[in-house]
Structure formats: C-alpha cells, structure tokens
C-alpha cells in the first residue's frame, strides 16, 4: 500500500511482487479507487489489465464488492462507472453472430453487418441485413451515458439486451468516460488493437498490469510475424480476388476508385469515415511511427498497388525457396528487396495503410478471408519502419525433420520495450505486478523504463501453509535432473515415476505435476507406462494428462476437478508454459501438491531465441545464462504458485531437480517461496520428501484456527 501510494504520488511507474492468492487485486483496487476519490483531478482513470477472461471477470467482481462496501460504510451511492471490455466473441448478443465459435468468425461477421457501406446500402435497400443492436446503439446509445455502476461482461450483455444496444460498441464507447476499465493486455500493448480501442484514453490514468510476469512475451508476440508457404499461397488467392474486384468495379463504378485516388493524393486518410466499425485491424506499428503524410504516388492507384503486392509476394516466395537457414536484419532485407525487385522503403511503409483503404473502397464484406494479405502488408510496414530490434530468420525446414521442406520466414521482435514504450510514455503511472516477478531488477531492464518503486512482498501467514521441497535424488542416490544429458536416462525417469507414485499415496485429493515440455512429458509418460508405474499410480488416483488440443485439455481439466471434488483424487500431468500453467488456478483441494519435474528452460536451440539472447546481451548487458535461468525460474514459480490461495489453503511445492538447490536458481524464486526453503529441504531423497510431506500434511489437515485478519503483506526488508 505504502509503495503503491508512493508510486502514485510520484506519478511514476512501479514494479510490485505480491504473493498470489493474498488479495493482491483487492489491495490494488482499494488504494487506487481511494486515490481517485481523494484526488479526482490527479487520477482520472484506472486501467486494469489482466490476462484471461476469467481473471478480468474476477477483477470486476472484486471491484463490485469494494463498491458495495463503500456504499455500506458511507451510506451514499457513489457514481463510479467501471466496466470490463472484451472481444466481440464475449460480448455479442446478436443471435446469429454470437453463435459462432471462434473469435475471428465473430469479428468478421460483425464487420459484415455493421460496416458503414453496408449500412449505407441498407438505407437504399432494406433487405440488406444489418445488426439491429448496433443500429439502435448508433441511433440513441451515445446521447445518454451508461448509468454509473459496475458492469461485468454479463452485466453489459444484460444491459444491452434490455436496451437493445450492442454491448461491445457500448463498452468501447463507454471506456472513454468510465472511471475504471478492466480489459486484456492486448488492448494496450498490441498496436493493431490499441490504436482502435485505447487511443483516446486520458493521459492521467493509472495503468495496472496484473499477472505481468510474461509481459515481455506478450509485447514480443504482438509485433512478430511468421510467414509460411501456405500463407503466401493464400495471399495469392487474395491478390487475385482483389484484382478481379477492381476490374469489376472499374466497369461498374469507376467513380469510386477515382474518389479514393483523389483522397489519397490529398492525404485525407481517415477524415471522412473515421467510423469505428470500419477499421478491422489498424496499423501494426506504434502510433508515433505512423507517417503523417500522403501515400506515395507509386501505389496510389488500385491497379498499381495490386501490382506492387504481387511483386512483393513473388519476392517473398523466392526468398522461401532456399535450402539453408538465413538470418538477416531489417536493413539487409530492405537492401535485398530493392536490389532484386526494386521495391523502395517508403511504399512498403504505407503498405498496411494502403491495403486498408483499398479493402474499404472495394467494400469487401468478408474481411476475415483477407487475413493472409493483411498479414503480409503488416510485415511490410513493420520491416520498413523499424531498423532495430527485429530480426528476420528464414528456415527451410524444421530442425527435427530436415528432410521435409517447410520453409518459414520469422520476422521476430526481440525487444519487448518497443511495444510497451508508448504505454510508459503516455500514462502517468504504470504498475507492473504479479505473484512471481523475481528477480525484480530484470523487468525494468528488459522493458526499458525507470520505476520509482520496486518491492517484493512476502505474506504473513497464520501458519506455514506452503512447504517447498527440493528433491535432488532418488532412493538409489541417483541424481534427478531434467538436464539434457540425463533426461533420457532410465534411472532418472524411474525416479521421477517413483516420486509421483509415492506422493500419490500420501497426498489427499489433487496433485498437479508439471513437465518442462510437451515432448518430454510424452516420452516420460510412455516409459512410465511401459514400466508399469502408471498402473500403480492409478491404484491411488485417476490420471489426466494435458494434450496440445485445448478442447481436450479443458475436458480433462474438468474431469480432474470433478474427481477432486468427489473425493476420488486425481493427478493432472501438465506442461510448464502450457495453457494450463498460464491460466488455471489449483486452489485448495484441486492442488494439494504441485510437482515440478525438472527446470523449465526454453528450447535453447531455437534460432529466434538465440537471436533474442544475443540482442539482450548487446543492448541491455544481460548475460544469456542469466536470462535463461530467470525465464525458467519464473515459469517454475508460476506453476508452483498456483496452488496457494489465502491463509486457509495449503500445498506442497516439490521441485524435482537437483539444480534447484543451487543458489543461483534458488535465489531467483520469489521471496515468499524462498523464505520457506530451509537448508533441511534441499537435495532430499524421495523417502525424505515423503516423510516431510506426511508431517506437513498431517499438520495442515488440522482445522484452521481463526485468527484476526492481519494485513496481507509486510514489506520484505
């Protein structure tokens, strides 16, 4: 609280690490809301960013509780407006559109019902379908602001249904004057979306990034592009369609194209139709990099532009026809493309902008079909805009299968600070927080900002309800490690199996086990199966395993929870960095023990990673090993930290790799885990682990004695 207040007072940025499941969200909310109430002119808006939809909804519910408490204590109704914003898929109430399963389909369908030219057509031809919810909102929704209160996604939908307004556009419109906005990272970090949604948010806002341990990857992902041969093939179809459409329009309605041309000459890019529904995807580069000048003459006419695209496409195809790996920087690429096909840098920069304009002019309804060409245009714009921080890697085949040609062009962002820079520059306070941010100093370095406060908090516990144990050896004294040299070792695999088997016999309800990678898990499961270890585990608990397929995993997850609920007990085998480890909590009986098999290093042989490490070393003076260990440990902590929530909860945290005992690994765990690791819990054998666990579980299973609620965090000195 103190640190947060200091950050707000200084109008600076902060990095706060708070243990998961201790009321982090509500603490942040209550202080910032109170600050907003006390200094309404200093802080006008709170932008709370979280990662997943359930997280967003949780935040809003917490906020609702807080507001109810305000009302109860002060007796007056406060006029705060807080709302959650999510994608159309989660907010649409149009019966037809909302029945679509995938977000992209929903977006495309929505666009085909609400684009301005569709609506214009509707005027002349009433049989043209439009979305009545949007029409209604457009007609009356903007005049009266939405009444103050807390709106979760479902509340927005209900409100929309009642009024007949489109909840999505209502929310997007309302965030401009709302006091608190809760949405996903992407709405701020991904320039393609941020430009649409968050452009007009007030400067005097406080931005909170919750669960921000992966924020650098989000930044990088939002600015990286991969192009495969399949993409290019589909692009080809797109270009052909464009050409045909242009041809047709030219015959029927040449004036339209002339009008566009005139507009482009004058540089009136968006002036006439800055309609929210038209912009499907905005410019992929950051706002301050977008050129504020007219589109160059060479691509102004539609035919010329299509010709330009064709040339660009052919060039990319030629680049993909290689037999060895190529790595180059953006300037090299630009030089090469100029030499080979005479494409200049400037028209490339306008590629995305120009394509957007063209698509609108051509009145293409099903815009989702054009995602490949959009991708290519974004790549063109990005590669010509940024000369630093990006790399181009062309791989003719996958490493594992050198015989099968599957060329991929990776255009990869290596500098997360590029995407997040405008956020730090624009908003007065940005708070980055998560349960696992250790070591704290690395985040300011890789995100390139100066925080006014950095603090790691530990928790006050009514009892030591977490028990981290580091298992280094099997009962046969063979060291356990997922190290590359030993990971296929029979003894290591067997010891891992024995550990799980022993734990399955003593831990009640749910156990979650994480492996370092999916392939590794598959191999281990197969050899456990052959050795009969899994059968023995099945005597104690049911086994569920994460698969690459999200739907299948969801089912397994639900069954796992069911099995924990009805007392049968289950084991979930999962993967660090997988979807389960990122988004699912295993509180109370859903996770009485978490076992981390091995240290979850990233696949270090990947060229993208190598390039990134090199960049980090050159630009930020972060040593490769430091970064790798940091990355592995934050994921380990993330996996393990999902088991604890609140003081009544308890859980074992088992790190099954002898390397965890080393100071350089251990020191990178969050403080709140580290302080419970005693010397006695390092490098244990399986038997010792079982003994310690038994003792711990027996103690914890005693009824929880109520203590007076104490403050959640204390400052770690």
């Amino acid at each position: 609280m103190l640190e947060l207040k200091r950050t707000l007072d200084a109008k600076g940025h902060g990095v706060l690490e708070m243990p998961s499941g201790t009321g982090k969200t509500i603490s942040l909310l209550s202080l910032i809301v109170a600050y907003q109430k006390a200094y309404p002119l200093e802080v006008t808006k709170l932008i709370y960013c979280s990662r997943t939809v359930p997280e967003i909804e949780k935040v809003v519910e917490e906020l609702r509780k807080l507001m109810e408490f305000y009302t109860k204590e002060t007796g007056e109704k406060n006029n705060f407006l807080a709302l959650a914003l999510s994608s159309r898929k989660n907010l649409c109430i149009h019966p037809e559109v909302s029945s679509l399963r995938f977000g992209k389909e929903v977006d495309g369908k929505c666009h085909s019902l609400t684009a301005s030219y569709i609506r214009a057509q509707h005027h002349s031809n009433p049989s043209q379908p439009v979305c009545r919810f949007y029409e209604e909102f457009d007609a009356v929704g903007r005049q009266v602001p939405i009444p103050s209160g807390i709106y979760n996604l479902d509340d927005l939908k209900d409100f929309g249904r009642k009024k007949g307004w489109c909840p999505y556009y209502l929310a997007r419109y309302s965030i401009l004057h709302a006091n608190i906005v809760v949405y996903s990272y992407h709405y701020l970090l991904d320039p393609k979306i941020a430009d649409l949604v968050s452009k007009e948010l007030a400067k005097k806002s406080v931005v909170v990034f919750d669960e921000a341990h992966n924020i650098d990857n989000v930044c990088i992902d939002s600015m990286s592009v991969n192009i495969t041969r399949r993409t290019l093939d589909r692009c080809q179809t797109n270009v052909d369609t464009l050409q045909n459409t242009i041809q047709r329009i030219k015959e029927t309605d040449a004036a339209k194209l002339r009008e566009e041309y005139r507009r482009l000459v004058e540089g009136l890019k968006e002036a006439n139709v800055a309609r929210e529904t038209d912009i499907y995807l905005s410019n992929p580069v950051l706002p301050d990099e977008v050129l504020q000048e007219a589109i160059p003459g060479s691509i102004r006419t539609a035919e010329h532009f299509v010709g330009f695209l064709k040339r660009f496409l052919e060039y990319l195809k030629a680049r993909l026809r290689i037999h060895h790996v190529v790595q180059e920087s953006s300037p090299q690429f630009l030089k090469d493309i100029y030499e080979k096909v005479c494409i200049d840098r400037k028209p490339l920069r306008f590629c995305a902008e120009r394509l957007r304009s063209l698509l609108r002019t051509l009145e293409i309804a099903d815009i989702a079909d054009f995602s490949p060409i959009t991708l290519i245009s974004h790549f063109a714009t990005l590669v010509s805009t940024y000369s630093k921080g990006f790399t181009i890697i062309i791989e003719p085949f996958e490493d594992k299968t050198p015989t099968i040609a599957n060329p991929v062009l990776h255009f990869s962002c290596m500098d997360p600070s590029i995407a997040i820079k405008p956020v730090f520059e624009r908003f007065q306070s940005v708070v980055i927080t998560s349960g696992t941010l250790s070591p704290l100093d690395i985040y300011p370095r890789i995100l390139d900002f100066r925080p006014v406060t950095m603090a790691s908090f530990t928790m006050t516990l009514a009892r030591t309800c977490l028990c981290p144990l580091i298992v280094g050896r099997g009962n046969d004294q063979v060291a356990m490690s997922s190290k590359f040299e030993t990971r296929e070792d029979f003894a290591v695999i067997r010891n891992y199996g024995n550990l799980l088997l022993e734990m399955s016999a003593i831990v009640p309800d749910g156990i979650v086990a994480f492996f370092t990678s999916y392939v590794y898990m598959e191999n281990i499961v197969a050899s456990w199966y052959e050795q009969g270890i899994l059968e023995n585990i099945q005597r104690n608990k049911l086994i569920f395993i994460e698969t690459p397929d999200a739907a299948e995993t969801s089912m397994a997850l639900e069954k796992y929870q069911e099995a924990c609920e009805n007392g049968r007990g289950a084991i979930l085998l999962s993967v660090a960095r997988g979807k389960v480890s990122e988004g699912i909590d295993f509180v109370h009986h859903f996770g009485r023990a978490v076992i981390m098999f091995g240290v979850p290093y990233v696949y270090t042989q990947s060229r993208i990673l190598k390039a990134r490490l090199e960049y980090l070393r050159d630009q930020f003076q972060i040593r490769e090993n430091d970064f790798l260990t940091f990355d592995a440990m934050r994921h380990a902590a993330q996996c393990v930290g999902r088991a604890i929530r609140g003081k009544t909860d308890y859980g074992l945290m088992i790190f099954a790799d002898k390397r965890y005992a080393r100071a350089d690994k251990r020191g990178k765990l969050p403080r709140w885990i580290q302080e419970h690791i005693s010397d006695g819990s390092l490098n244990l054998t399986i038997d010792e682990t079982v003994q310690l666990s038994k003792h711990f579980l027996r103690q914890m299973a005693q009824p929880f004695r109520r203590v007076r609620p104490a403050p959640f965090f204390t400052r770690f000195s």
Partner: protein, 573 residues
C-alpha cells in the same frame, strides 16, 4: 506389462480361468438330500459312514442310525487333505471356531478315490456357504473390533462361559440387522478402481502361454467402464462365442493394447475402439460446463494466425513413436474419464433426464441464459476467502432467562431460616457497603501477626482445619487395575441385568424360560466373578462398599425374580 510378441505367437496356449460365481446354483435347502455317502470312514478310531448332504456334512458310527458328528457347511472354514505320499488318507475339516475334525478313509482299495470325491464335492459346496457365513461372522467380528466395550463384555461373558455366544449375539444382531437394512438402502456405491485393468496380471503358465485371472469384479468393472464391451458381450457370447473365447479375444484385441499401432486386425473390438473415439470426440465437442476451466475461452484476444513468435504448424511430421505416445495419453484421459463417469452414473441416474436436456442446451451458445448461474457461482467462489468471512463461526444460542434471579443464585434449598429474597440480599449488601465505607481500623486491638499467619495456614487447602472438608476421590484411593476390573464387572453386570430385565413382563413361555436362565446366569456371574473380586478387595484392605452397589443391583433382580416366581406359583396352585 507382458510380452506381446510371445502372446501373438502362441495364441492357442492362452488359458483363461474364470472364477465366476454368478453361476451359483440356487438350491432348495429344505429337503435333506444326501449327495454322497462314503463308507468305511474312521473318526476317532471308530469306523463309520460319512454323509455329505445339501447343507451339512455328517458322520455316524457303524451300526447306529444317528450322527455323532455333524457340521453345517457354513461352519466350516476350510478343508485339508493329507499329502499324497502318506500312508493314512485323511480329510480334515477346520471350523470357524478353530476346532477340527479328521476323517480317515480306511477302505484300502478305494480310499484315495473316496477322499477325492468327498474333497471335490466339498470344494464345490463350501464356497456357496462361505459367503453367507462369512458375512455374519465378519459382521460380528467387525462389531467386536469397533467397540472395545463390547469386546470386553464378550470376553467377560462368553469366553468365561457365563452365557453362550448365541445368547450374547441374539439381542445384538437384531439391532445391527435393523441398522444394516437401513444402511442397505442408501448404501454407498463403490466406485471402480482406476487400476482394474492393471490388476489382471498375466502369468506365464510355463508353456509359453499367458494366463489371465479374471474375477467377476474385474468383469463388472470392465462392463461398467466400457459399455461398448458389454454390448459386444451381450451380442456375441451365448450364440457366437463362449465366454472364454470372448475374453481371450478381448485380451488379444487391439482394443486392449491400444497403444500399439496394430492396424489391419479385424476383430469384434475394433468397433468398440471406434465407438470410444466417437464418445471422446463428442465429449470434447460438448465442451465444459465450468467456464473457469475452459481453455478455449480463456484468452481474450488471441493473436491472429501468423502473428506471434511461436508457430504451431500442422503436425504432419510426427513419427510413429510419437503417435503411439499421444495415443497412450489420449487413452489415459479417456480411461480416467470413463472410470469417473462409471462411478457417477448411479448418482446421475435419476436426474438423467434433466442433465441430458441441459447438456444439449449448453451446447448451443444461445443458452446464455443458463450459463451465468454457474459462472456467477464460480466467480464468487474464486474471489471469496473463507477465513475473511464474518460470522461463520458456530452459531450460538442466546441465553433467554425468565428469572435472572434464579439463574444467578442457583437452586437454593427451601429452608425457612436461610431463605432470603434478592431484596434482602441487596439490602444486606448495601448495609455492608455502608459499614465498610465508615470502617475505621482500630490498630490497637489487632491480632498478632504470628497468630494470623498460623490461622491462614490452617485454613488454606491442606491445612489443619481443611482436612475434614476434602473428600478424596475413589480414583485416588483404589489402584488402577482394581478400577478397571470394577468397570468391567459393572459393564458385564449391566449387560446381564439388561437381558434379565428385558424379559419382563414375562408373557410368553420363551421369556419364562429365558428369565429362569438369566437368573441362573446372574447367580453364576455372582459366584464366578463378583465373589472373587470381593475377596480380592478384602485381601487388599480396601473398603468393601465398592461392590455394594453391584450387590444391590443384583439383589434387586433376585427380589424381582422371587416376586415373580411366588406369584406364578400362587397362580398355578
């Protein structure tokens, strides 16, 4: 798990043993049909004839028409036979009580054959009765184990032969059987062990074959978990295949060894595999009900295809091994889900209708109206901390006093001269307060300090004047072994008296008989247990009034009995 190659090479050598008690004969137990008669069987050096009947085994000495030995099958724990090489050919029956009876087959020429015939028949007969007997026995055993007091009672009364075991259990089991029938209705369905397939350990039988032991439990588990197999069984077994063949094929089938990529094998189970696949798919398509675990809708804004740093290309390049690995994983997920579902099926049965309709609704996304409740509940769960809830402690009942006077003073004995109303007390208290307020110490007339301190010591606990008031508890006077013995005596006496008093009013001949017996039991108890104890107490110079209450209780019972008897005599005459 086992060697597949060998199995495939010698499929004909695969043997299956089926212990399948489902084919139990239902027997008419009314008539005493003699199943086997064996002559010239010696028992205790006496020649005689052995009879095996439907419910019991009996032996009668030669020339007599009654049985001197007769055991119900239910009483027999096991039978033992003498080793083959021995000169005496014997059969021993061990009873549950621990006694045993040995029969010696003495007919030189056919002794071995006779014995084996008897043995085989017994082997068939015993298991049928075993279950029944065991159940009762187990129940008794369980009761004794769970209840140490009862166990002690059993030792005191039955083992020392004060009353017989039947008498002891007669009243108990009735109680328990009532409980049993009650609990039977709501008996908890036992789930299926997840490892039931692992329990079928194949054993090599020495000649390159594999032997699977299938019990009815496992078969039931297989059926419950994989309804498809059950269906196949119902379709095929009586007409197309024998049971044995069916299971042989099951174990040979690709279905059982699904991790092996073994295509092209045509068997009846390939259809099952397909069906399962379909079931799994439909489960996946149906999606999950709990929105908090739905990984598909977790991400708010997924990056479009082609963006991001990781590419998940089409998995065209999977090796065969990897494929089989992921098949194992799939299979485990499916297996666990099926086991879980099998365990829950019973519970779901009544609400099947409802769940079916709701699940189909939940499938279409129009059912937004249905979804929020689950979601709300889950969200609430996720943001609530139970330790921060107020007033979740045990509810207390407010004390509601009609007369607070009575509460604070307690029940005061109604004595005329002591009786004072609360008004009096208040008055006197105020009086004292007044006096205290105007109290002036008169320092010249105080007690000397030595006298005062001696008075205080005399009045403090353990002091001279306080001794009469402290009554030492019995527990401090009597050694612990005597105490525990006394306790046992009390419980035993209580049990006997309970039996005794439960006979009144005596209105049936059975009760008459019982009451007489109970009286004699009491007398026996008094003479064998109580008397020795009393003597022991006397020897140790403890006060004899320890047992006076026991004596009183027993005497009261005697008096009652006497009164009843005299009345009966009077009525008779």
């Amino acid at each position: 798990m086992f060697n597949v190659d060998r199995r495939l090479k010698f499929p004909s050598a695969l043997i299956l043993c089926l212990h399948y008690p489902a084919c139990l004969l239902v027997m008419a137990a009314l008539s005493e049909e003699v199943l086997l008669v064996v002559k010239r069987v010696r028992q205790r050096k006496q020649d005689g004839t052995l009879y095996l009947m439907t419910e019991r085994i009996a032996w009668g000495p030669e020339g007599k028409d009654r049985f001197t030995v007769s055991h119900l099958y239910a009483d027999i724990r096991c039978q033992k036979i003498s080793p083959d090489g021995k000169s005496k050919i014997q059969l021993q029956l061990v009873l549950h009580t621990g006694e045993s009876t040995t029969f010696h087959f003495a007919n030189e020429s056919t002794a071995l054959k006779d014995r084996d015939a008897a043995k085989d028949l017994l082997q068939q007969l015993l298991p049928k009765f075993k279950k029944k007997a065991n159940k009762q026995l187990e129940e008794k055993n369980k009761m004794l184990q769970e209840d140490p007091v009862l166990f002690q009672l059993y030792k005191d009364l039955v083992v020392s032969q004060v009353i017989s075991a039947e008498e002891f259990w007669a009243s108990r089991l009735k109680l328990s059987s009532v409980e049993h029938s009650l609990s039977n209705n709501s008996k908890q369905e036992v789930g299926i062990s997840a490892a039931f397939l692992a329990d079928i350990r194949p054993q090599t039988d020495g000649c390159n074959g594999l032997k699977y032991n299938l019990t009815s439990d496992i078969i039931e588990s297989i059926f419950k978990t994989y309804p498809a197999v059950k269906q196949k069984y119902a379709e095929n077994v009586p007409h197309n295949l024998t049971e044995k063949e069916f299971w042989t094929r099951f174990f040979q089938s690709h279905y059982f060894h699904r991790d092996r990529i073994n295509t092209g094998q045509q068997d009846i189970f390939s259809e099952c595999a397909k069906q399962d696949e379909k079931g799994l798919k439909s489960m996946v398509v149906q999606g999950v009900k709990n929105p908090m675990v739905d990984l598909l809708s977790l991400e708010d804004k997924t990056l479009d295809e082609g963006y991001g740093s990781l590419t998940v290309g089409p998995n065209s390049s999977k090796t065969v091994k990897e494929n089989s690995n992921s098949a194992i994983i799939k299979r485990f997920n499916h297996h666990s889900a099926m086991v879980l579902a099998a365990g829950l099926r019973k519970v779901d049965a009544p609400s099947d209708q409802a769940s079916e309709t709701s699940s189909t609704d939940g499938n279409s996304r129009d059912s937004d109206f249905f979804q929020p409740p689950i979601k709300k509940v889950k969200l609430q769960e996720a943001i609530e901390y139970e330790d921060l809830q107020n007033g979740s402690g045990p509810k207390t009942i407010a004390l509601n006093l009609k007369k607070s006077d009575r509460y604070s003073h307690g029940p005061v004995p109604l004595q005329s001269h002591h009786y004072s109303t609360s008004q009096d007390i208040i008055n006197s208290v105020s009086c004292i307060q007044e006096e205290i307020s105007c109290y002036k110490p008169c320092l010249t007339r105080v007690m000397p300090s030595s006298a005062a301190s001696s008075a205080i010591t005399a009045l403090s606990p353990g002091g001279l004047l306080m001794q009469a008031g402290t009554q030492q508890a019995v527990s401090q006077l009597v050694p612990t072994d005597v105490q525990s013995e006394l306790k046992h005596l009390y419980t035993a006496a209580g049990e006997l008296l309970r039996h005794f008093w439960s006979c009144f009013p005596v209105n049936t001949p059975f009760l008459e008989e019982k009451v007489v017996k109970m009286r004699s039991n009491l007398e026996r108890f008094q003479s064998t247990k109580l008397r020795p104890f009393q003597e022991k107490i006397q020897r140790e110079y403890l006060s004899t009034n320890l047992t006076s209450h026991l004596d009183e209780m027993i005497q009261a019972a005697y008096n009652k009995f006497h009164a009843w008897q005299t009345r009966r005599m009077a009525r008779k005459t």
